[in-house]
């Protein structure tokens, strides 16, 4: 007799995240209040800043694109029981792949550069995640540790590459040559003018396709069945004859490839060159996105949109409410990550108790359990 029964799906997927978000906003509101500003003004400034007009929406969707990729990277690995914290490093190194392809091919049309760059981003990001995957599968080094270490290695490697290899002689900063205009991936504003000069681009479409592909991979393929078995119960997957080490290496590679798509977005269309720290910690936000989205593509999509809105709205906030500095905005964003990501289970026990008392669905399930109890 377990004391607490799991929540119904809708409560787990919708109600719980909303409660977490509310709590985050209340605490953030208190912080705003403490420094002498009006929290309601702040929240409406964030909302307007994120969705007020085409320009705002364009920026929100640009951030969302990155968060979908890193959110999916974390979610996919999580289904196999792996915690990929290395999204940052994988995206960063993938930038190398994109810039090599883009600079080598930038005399050609973007329609040629784009698919090759996409593959290069996937390969470079994938390889950067494969190494921790290999070390986990064959040597037992925990991916949480190795992926974090690989973030640092990536950052050192990229500084070296940018300063010593990619920096043209006539440029002072650590960055590569600009990609020729014709080879840059088009921004959505070319097709939809209200987005103005916002950086949201075709990679948003790639992100939406990625959501669908991950869904099919995890829930509709034999490999997905195997990776979920491993994620839930590694002993059972071994019992079932699945090669755990092989699954770990493949899943980590795919996860890194997804994270690498951030570079595809940033390098090929947003920055149009390789710059230092272009990932801007999207890899870490991806962890919160995956947690809040319950590792499901639909959840990841909504959570990525929420974080995209917070990033964009937060940026606008400092211009609307001068008392709220950039640092305060980061505090608010961090509170949201804290309550929706790190402490996402805060309300669960209380909610479960409430549901056990009132929910009719639970009664129906209890009836089913009673039937289970009576053996034939």
């Amino acid at each position: 007799m377990s004391a607490l029964r799991p929540l119904p799906r809708w409560a787990d997927l919708v109600l719980l995240p909303i409660l977490n978000l509310l709590l985050a906003f209340i605490v953030a509101g208190l912080v705003v209040l403490i420094i002498g500003q009006n929290p309601f003004v702040a929240i409406s400034a964030i909302a307007t800043g994120a969705f007020g007009n085409g320009y705002n929406i364009g920026y929100t969707l640009y951030y969302t694109t990155n968060f979908i990729f890193t959110g999916l990277a974390v979610a996919l690995a999580a289904h196999a029981g792996l915690f990929n914290i290395g999204g940052n490093g994988q995206a960063y190194v993938a930038g190398l792949g994109v810039i090599f392809v883009a600079l080598a091919l930038d005399q050609y049309h973007w329609a040629i550069v784009m698919p090759v760059a996409l593959i290069a981003a996937a390969v470079f990001g994938g390889v950067w995640a494969f190494i921790p995957g290999y070390l986990q599968a064959k040597r037992g080094s925990h991916v949480v540790i190795t992926t974090i270490m690989f973030n640092f290695i990536a950052s050192a490697l990229m500084v070296y590459m940018l300063n010593r290899v990619l920096k043209p002689a006539n440029v002072s900063g650590p960055e590569s040559r600009m990609i020729a205009e014709g080879a840059r991936m088009p921004r959505l504003s070319e097709f939809f003018p209200p987005f103005q000069y916002t950086p949201v681009n075709l990679s948003l479409i790639v992100a939406i396709i990625a959501l669908f592909v991950v869904y099919v991979l995890v829930w509709r393929t034999k490999f997905g069945f195997a990776l979920r078995t491993l994620g839930h119960n590694p002993v059972a997957s071994r019992y079932a004859g699945m090669s755990n080490s092989r699954i770990i290496m493949i899943v980590m590679t795919l996860s890194g490839a997804l994270a690498g798509m951030v570079a595809f977005n940033e390098v090929l269309s947003v920055q149009n060159r390789l710059v230092l720290d272009f990932v801007a910690d999207a890899g870490f936000v991806g962890i919160a996105v995956a947690l809040m989205g319950r590792n499901h593509p639909v959840g990841v999509a909504f959570a990525a949109l929420l974080f995209g809105a917070l990033y964009q709205g937060g940026n606008e906030l400092q211009y609307v409410v001068p008392g709220l500095t950039r640092e305060m905005v980061v505090v608010i964003q961090a509170l949201v990550i804290l309550f929706t990501g790190a402490m996402e289970g805060l309300f669960r026990p209380g909610l479960q108790r409430t549901f056990m008392l009132f929910s009719p669905e639970q009664k129906a399930e209890a009836a089913a359990r009673e039937t289970v109890g009576s053996e034939g």
């Binding site: 004391a3 509709r220 002993v235 071994r238 019992y239 109890g373």
Partner: protein, 531 residues
């Protein structure tokens, strides 16, 4: 909460209705406990006479554990009265229960492996922050208890160095040290050899003779008959009946537990063994720590016979099963199915073993044989997910898998018949049926079965045993590993006894006595002890 404390209306089936000479140690009256809408205990009445051994039997989910948890203060009853030694009590937590003299010995021991017996005994009951004086005082008290109740254990021995039977004594000593007068034992013999179980019963008898009250939760009717004075039967959250043990028999108890007549004996015909289908030669297997757990074992299982491996758990059976089924690398030796040697190295050896016609019902279905978070249909293809019948390409033919799951649910009478239900919501017996259906319906040549009826209700045991015998009669080779000696004896055509990683003997289950098998299971050291 509308019970009248002065109401003396006894249920007609309460055997010991009038107060016994020593009075009641425990009186439970109309205890109700709901978990949400699940009614785990319905109007439970239970009276336990002081100085007796009182058994409580019932299938899984009958509410035994809930009832004992209420008595021990883990849960609070929704309504009803608890009287301990005649005084009504509201037991708030286990600390309170202990203060009232109620101690519990759990099925899974709550001991710190690298502490000594003495340290474990006082753990959580230290007098003050300084350890040395507490230890000195505790040592004297512990020695007194050991002498008084015949519970000899070396106080300075480290827990991981002593046998399971001795560890259990430490658990009992812990309870006694804390002043327990009423001891609750939850499935105490599950981990013991027959001899250790006999020792335990002797200890329980001593405790009873010294005036302690013992509540014994078990599903083994033989133990109920051997040791208890009274027995209460629970079924689906209700107290069915309380009987004097001397006035009942196992058949009646089984019927009360299940609610219908149950065949306790397995009915099987003569075996007609054919050619060997499973041959194991000089197999050496190490555990995860690199310790050799199977030391050069050889045997064969022929078509149409059931070979049982008897042994106390932890003597290499688990590693043997895992190695033969391809889940664990062997250090040396060979495994052949149907004359063809299996290549079992690498972490997907189980897939090759299955492809060769070897099916495996693992010892621990929840840890190994099932993904409890999966829906039922997903578990019904586990291990066979790559088979072409569930889709030729990379995609899984979910409709096909679900249709097959439904067919198996019907053949094996899995309840409830719902392939979308999460597997963890099925009872132990039904989970086992899901595994058996998956492994048997593929018509394998060799079936390896570990603990087929562990945690399975009596009603389902009968069904599972019959299925295994049906497989045998269909000319399959069956290797059975079980810690239930009764099960090994009644199902097997040949019995191999395993001790410390080797097969120490073979016996004919029809002629070997339990004592002979028990001595073999205990190995040489135990035999010395018996002399």
């Amino acid at each position: 909460m509308n019970e009248q404390p002065d109401s003396n209306a006894q249920r007609p089936d309460m055997a010991a209705a009038s107060p016994p000479a020593n009075g009641w140690a425990i009186e439970l009256e109309k205890i109700n406990k709901r978990f949400g809408p699940v009614h785990a205990n319905k109007d439970i009445d239970l009276k336990v006479a002081r100085g007796t051994v009182h058994g409580i039997v019932g299938e899984n989910g009958a509410g035994k554990s809930t009832l004992m948890s209420i008595l021990y203060g883990f849960y609070t009853a929704d309504s009803g009265a608890i009287r301990v030694n005649g005084v009504e009590q509201q037991i708030a937590d286990s600390r309170h229960a202990l203060a009232l003299g109620i101690g519990m010995v759990h099925q899974h021991f709550m001991l710190v492996d690298n502490f000594s017996v003495l340290e474990n005994t006082i753990l959580g009951a230290e007098d003050d922050a300084r350890l040395a004086p507490s230890l000195a005082k505790a040592r004297a008290e512990l020695m007194r208890l050991e002498r008084e109740y015949g519970l000899e254990v070396d106080p300075d021995a480290i827990i991981e160095d002593i046998s399971v039977g001795q560890q259990q004594r430490v658990e009992i000593l812990k309870a006694l040290y804390r002043g327990a007068d009423i001891l609750i034992l939850d499935e105490p013999t599950g981990v013991l050899t027959p001899k250790e179980a006999d020792d335990l019963f002797r200890v329980l008898e001593t405790l009873r003779d010294q005036g302690k009250t013992i509540i014994l939760i078990t599903h083994k009717l033989r133990e109920i008959m051997a040791i208890t004075d009274n027995v209460s039967v629970m079924r689906q959250g209700e107290m069915v009946k309380t009987l004097k043990t001397s006035e009942t028999n196992p058949e009646e108890l089984a019927e009360l537990m299940v609610g219908r007549r149950v065949l306790l004996r397995v009915e099987k015909g003569e075996s007609h063994p054919g050619k060997p289908l499973l041959e194991v030669r000089d197999l050496v297997v190490a555990d995860d720590m690199g310790v050799e757990r199977v030391k050069s074992v050889s045997f064969a299982v022929r078509a149409g016979e059931i070979v049982g491996i008897a042994g106390v758990s932890g003597n290499g059976q688990t590693e043997l099963l895992e190695a033969v089924s391809g889940m664990r690398d062997q250090r040396a030796g060979t495994v052949a199915v149907n004359g063809r040697e299996l290549y079992l190295r690498g972490d997907d050896g189980a897939a090759r073993a299955r492809a060769a016609g070897l099916a495996h019902v693992p010892e621990d279905r929840q840890r190994m044989g099932l993904v409890t978070a999966f829906e039922e249909w997903e578990n019904s293809i586990l291990g066979y997910q790559d088979s072409p019948e569930y889709g030729s390409g990379p995609f899984l033919d979910i409709e096909k898998a679900k249709a097959e799951a439904d067919a198996r649910i019907r053949t094996f009478d899995v309840r409830p018949p719902n392939n979308r239900l999460k597997t963890s919501l099925f009872s132990g017996g039904n989970q086992q049926k899901i595994v058996l259906a998956r492994e048997m319906e593929r018509d394998p040549d060799v079936l390896i079965v570990g603990q087929p009826t562990r945690g399975v209700d009596i009603g389902a045991i009968e069904f599972i045993h019959n299925q295994i015998i049906k497989m045998r009669d269909a000319g399959k080779a069956i290797l059975l590993v079980s810690v239930e000696l009764d099960e090994i004896r009644s199902l097997s055509d040949r019995v191999l006894v395993m001790f410390d990683g080797t097969i120490v003997g073979e016996a004919d289950p029809a002629t070997a006595t339990e004592g002979e098998l028990g001595l073999m299971m205990a190995g040489i050291s135990e035999r010395k002890a018996a002399q």
